[in-house]
Symmetry: C2
């Protein structure tokens, strides 16, 4: 298993030259057989004849040392400064739908700041009846809601516009995480301040040096946006905005302002640096799409994938992946073994919550031949995840953001997996 | 906030001598007002004028140092040896429904062992057509499912049989956690081996020295039991059974065998030490109830609670708590402010999944008078959480296990909270 990203030239010209099994594969089992006198079974092992760790060993635990490869990773050549950069969730090594905070990707514009609850303030000003300043304790006195949502960087998959670039599902699609949040609906805080009739936009700023200011239309702010304190049951981590961040379900991650310090209500968008020079989609004609907030339906097969080759040879193989949509629930995920010629529906495992990661599985009996694995998500609006070429036809190649095109993994006969594109 | 448990004599004789507000409290808001020139707002802060941590600072992150009190804790006088003991989830400081693995309670019979995937074996033998030994890699080739479930020690609340004993929601009710698991349905592994017609029980053993063997009726084993590898998206932690544990939704935690090494199929229960001398319920007549596997519906208010006093004085107060049932979904949680005289329904926040923790909230306007806070869960079977005295009438006081009685917190006028019982 390789955990280092490999940059290489485009493989857009990759051609399918090998006959693939395709529709002939069916679910199977019978992986295990009775073994001979396995010493791990017939001999008493050390761990079965001695004491393990006591209950006071780790007041707050970390993953076991055997899992030390399951960590956030960054790509040094991708950005200039690590205080204004991004790292990647090891989605290739995770299962289910929840992303642990400890390995959930980070994006900072000026680094992760340390801000205590005592020092925390949130101001609401602008076009409101009563400008307000909340302490952290104040926020804890408002009614709370609980919701699970994915947070995806607009640039997730952005390197793939120019063709398959990075070896590793973590690197190609790992700017995403999915957590259960608890906090106060933003609507309640805005109601407390009283939005004036001419107020149509809410500008959110963080307490870090960058401030990462972003403008939210009032409709969204009053809909499902949360001022969140807890993620996956516990306090937000420092790198995710402790003590307070915005949660903007279904919308691009840069709107999820961390270390939230101010909400300004205005009659128009602020048109800040982050929404003019950045986070707009440069089109082929030189103009830029702006306000492309929603993350459209997408999916990726997390295993097998370039960091998770098939080591066990032929026979039963679990294909596992993630699907999500900023427009609602995932209703179906199709999987192709032959680069998009034939498709079969995967199983949605567990919950398929709106605007949250959804796990899918497909169980096949691998005959040992090459595969061109793809997944294609469909959401409750009927939207079908496009191919990369379909996206490029409209948006060209100048853009970095909002690549939700279908990802292809080339599974070779030896089980190794490579990031490719099919012609 | 006290994080140390205080043992004290019973308060069963506690009498309500103070007039309580009760039904007069209604939800309110208006907690925050415009403040004067707060330096935290009007002055540029250090964290707004310098860089924070870069994206390569913490490949796997931990909670921020300000949250160092949110940890598992054990009670030294409660048990003899820390390798055969238990610690407690800090449920008083958590929100939502997911419990992070890092602070989820542990129960060991001979300590948490370190067992690698390479060393891992799972044997199925006994009344099966084909005895099998699985490696970890073998298990990864079976179809997977994803489910969220609470795991509660049968002894959770056990100290409360004799009356209010421990100060702290963490200590009275913290032998519980709730995670999203991914693994193989046990049914599929049993089908692989082929259970003979006379096989009626599955005996599960762990690889640790204690082995903690427990007998499961075949019906349950074929229903919703999972052989789990992942919890909250990542590998199980060492202390929770890495690399493989049983997940037995709705049933007492000691059935959730960790470091699972063997499943023996038999025509009768093994009647092991763990199901005869332990984990049976001693009744007043000296006989013991056995096979009391299901955890009946229960709830507890996590905040305010003895570790979470009210510091903000009168006005809006968020009452937050957890409810769960081993028999299905929670359908309602009632909250009483006056020790069980008057009840009002709380709001179920987020999902109310079957056999999983459910978060409830009630927003009140506290008038500063004393409260006797209680919560009462109702599940989809119509079962209503009983009072402690109702349980004692049937089960007496000799028993340690299965105390799902209503918990009472005495909120004093100064905001301090004490564990009490109402007469």
């Amino acid at each position: 298993m390789s955990d280092e990203p490999i940059a290489r030239t485009s493989r857009r010209d990759f051609l399918r030259s090998t006959a693939l099994a395709g529709a002939g594969l069916v679910a199977g089992s019978a992986t295990a057989g009775a073994s001979g006198p396995d010493p791990k079974i017939v001999e008493v092992q050390d761990w079965a004849s001695s004491f393990g760790d006591p209950v006071d060993a780790t007041p707050y635990g970390m993953p076991i040392r055997f899992e030390s490869h399951v960590v956030r990773r960054n790509v040094e050549w991708l950005t200039e400064s690590p205080v204004s950069s991004i790292n990647f969730t090891p989605i290739h090594a995770l299962e289910g739908t929840i992303t642990p905070q400890g390995c959930a990707f980070e994006r900072h514009h000026s680094g992760a700041i340390e801000l205590s609850k005592a020092d925390y303030r949130l101001m609401i000003n602008g076009l409101v009846d009563t400008p307000l300043v909340f302490t952290f304790e104040d926020l804890l006195r408002f009614p709370r809601s609980v919701t699970t949502a994915f947070c995806e960087c607009a640039a997730n998959g952005g390197m793939e516009w120019a063709g398959a670039q990075l070896e590793g599902c973590q690197y190609t699609q790992g700017m995403i995480h999915n957590m259960e949040y608890t906090g106060v609906p933003l609507r309640l805080l805005l109601e407390e301040a009283g939005v004036k009739p001419e107020g149509k936009w809410v500008y959110a700023e963080g307490a870090d040096a960058s401030s990462n200011g972003r403008s939210l239309p009032l409709d969204k702010a009053l809909d499902d946006v949360m001022v969140a304190f807890f993620a996956n049951g516990e306090a937000l981590r420092k790198e995710h905005g402790y003590p307070v961040r915005l949660v903007v379900p279904g919308w691009e991650g840069n709107m999820w302002v961390k270390w939230l310090r101010r909400l300004g209500v205005y009659d128009q968008a602020v048109e800040s640096r982050e929404e003019t020079s950045k986070y707009t989609d440069l089109m082929p004609d030189g103009r830029a799409r702006k306000w492309t907030w929603v993350m459209d339906a997408k999916s990726v097969i997390t295993s097998p994938s370039p960091q998770v080759p098939i080591r066990h040879g032929k026979g039963p193989l679990v294909i596992s992946g993630l699907a999500w949509s900023g427009n609602g629930r995932i209703t179906r995920v199709d999987v192709s073994l032959d680069g998009g010629v034939n498709w079969q529906s995967a199983r949605l495992s567990g919950l398929a919550l709106p605007k949250a990661l959804t796990r899918f599985h497909l169980d096949i009996d691998w005959n040992g031949e090459e595969l061109l694995l793809q997944s294609r998500a469909v959401d409750e609006t009927g939207y079908v995840q496009p191919t990369k070429d379909q996206l490029r036809e409209i948006r060209g190649l100048n853009n970095v953001y909002h690549n939700n095109g279908i990802q292809t993994w080339w599974v070779k006969a030896d089980g190794e997996v490579e990031n490719v594109e099919v012609a």
